[in-house]
Amino acid sequence: MNANIGNPHNGATPLVEMRDISIAFGGIKAVDHASVDLFPGEVVGLLGHNGAGKSTLIKILSGAYPRDSGQIRINGEEVQIGNPRDAKAYGIETIYQTLALADNVDAAANLFLGRELLTSWGTLDDAAMEAEARKVMGRLNPNFRRFKEPVKALSGGQRQSVAIARAILFNARILIMDEPTAALGPHETAQVGELIKELKKDGIGIFLISHDIHDVFDLADRVAVMKNGQVVGYAKTTEVTKDEVLGMIILGKCPPNAIRGPGAID
């Protein structure tokens, strides 16, 4: 494969480069020699049916699964990501489809889970964490007041904003959003859209994963389409139509303006 997969920034170093990534569960190749890349301030939509391998591919980047083969480069340097902690150390933050919140503790505890603020005595500094939580939540969801309640008491939208807040709290450089608007109403979906634009301005690279093209098309700069664990192709959203992308998702057919991947059929 070439180094610039639909590279819009000729010659620039990508923020993330995943090359020839494969992983198998039992005998099933969930991801089969897939490559994607991501540049600063760019939104890449990762599309495909349920089971196409997009979530699995991205979980390799976020450290949830170890890859069988392939390379990951961050800012051009090859890195080893063995667990979620490694990924976070490289500024990779993930908002999982399931949100991955601990339902029985409050918003602040979830925001800082695994990265708690400590007092000089080494104990949890709950007040400081709540203060930070109030700050970041005030930016995302100004109406949020329920800081003392376990997150299971919150609405779907509120839980989503907690998950998003957790991802942006630690100055992420790379953000992975797995079906970020699946559980949201139209108003909240629009809010997430605004947030993505804002984060883009800050130079954060975003992978947006969805099985629904409408969620992604207007927000993404490029799309990468997967089918049966392989990449069908890459395209700039300005150069292809939604119908053409749908053709890639459903049939695996690569339109002329897209760059072919190994999973494309003729």
Binding site: R85, L99, A100, E130, A131
Partner: protein
Amino acid sequence: MTQTQTAVTTQTQGKEGLLTAFLRATEIDARMLGMFGALILIWVGFHEYGAIFNNNGAFLTYRNLWNLSVQTASIAVMATGMVLIIVTRHIDLSVGSVLGVTAMITGAAQVWIFPKVLGLGLGHPMIWILAVIVALVVATAIGAFQGLLVAYLQIPSFIVTLGGMLVWRGAAWWVTRGETISPLDPNFKLIGGGPYGAIGVTASWVVAIVVCVLIILSLIAGRRQRQRFGFPLRPVWAEVFIAVLGSVLVLGAAYIANNYPWPAGIVKEYATSHNIPVPPGGLFIGHGFAIPVLIAGAVLIVMTFIANRTRFGRYVFAIGGNPEAAELAGINTKRMTVMVFALMGTLVGISAIIASARLNSATADLGKVDELYVIAAAVIGGTSLAGGSGTIWGAMLGALVMQSLQSGMVLIGFEAAMQQMVVGGVLVVAVWLDTVYRRRIK
């Protein structure tokens, strides 16, 4: 007519509103209130039953309440660890057997090995110190080993500890091939309580006052902290109420412990050995807090601190709420599992010390069926078997409720078979009530 009705409705609404507002302002858990209510009901109930049917209300006496506190200590200590085990969605059925084998090894060490092999004289202060260390190390190691099997070999904790229950009970027998080790080291024995194993009147007041000061200081520190960040504060009257309530409970416990006098024989023995003249009316020497009760109190404070104020505690609850999320947040859930089981082991070690010291002997049967009382205490105290929720103080209160029921039934002369049936029934009813309560607040 309509007017009066309206008036009545408003009044009741106002009343309900008051109680709710009161609970909210003081941040007192309704469940906590319910448990205290149940405890008082049990205490008064047994006392009155005895007073009416046996002409002797023996429950609410200094003597009984003091004994109750000592009897509760061992189960209460283990229940605090069981909370963390159950919160992380595990179970430990082996605690009774681990207690047994730990007590046997500790007993053998202090009676046979330390005096004979190390050549320490009888009653040498190093003996009890080494014995305590042996107990803690043995029990912690067993806990950690079982935790390793659960975490890294991924054997369900139910099976690991069910096996452990049988293995360690057998091991307890093997230590001496069934022989009972008695008596134990005279200093070690004091850890179990008894007249000499209590700290006396003056020291008890000092302890109680220190605890009261700590309660007040921690309330002030919490308030300052919230002020610093400009968070909403509890009303001042609510803070004062909590401080007063906590202080009254602690001072009341000290008052009760101090008013339970030494038996005349012990007083005589003590007076003779210390050359104190005994007045004709007899000499009053109060027990004060028993050492095992102080240990349980210290465990309550330390375990509450661990559960609420440390990363370890935060991770325990996060794992219980959503193990996958905890893993994705970068928490090493396997290592946490080992640590939780090891901590449970340490607490079993403390209970093994208390239980064998109290009996002044180590037997292979020590701690039999304790696992069920420990689990029951944690569950009655509001620990959810689904994982993710539970409190340390709740488990201790649960242990006190269980022990109150048992010793209450002994006092009013119920047969052992009947006692078992009542305790079992209460466990089921308590969990049912808790389920109803949880559904209500949802």
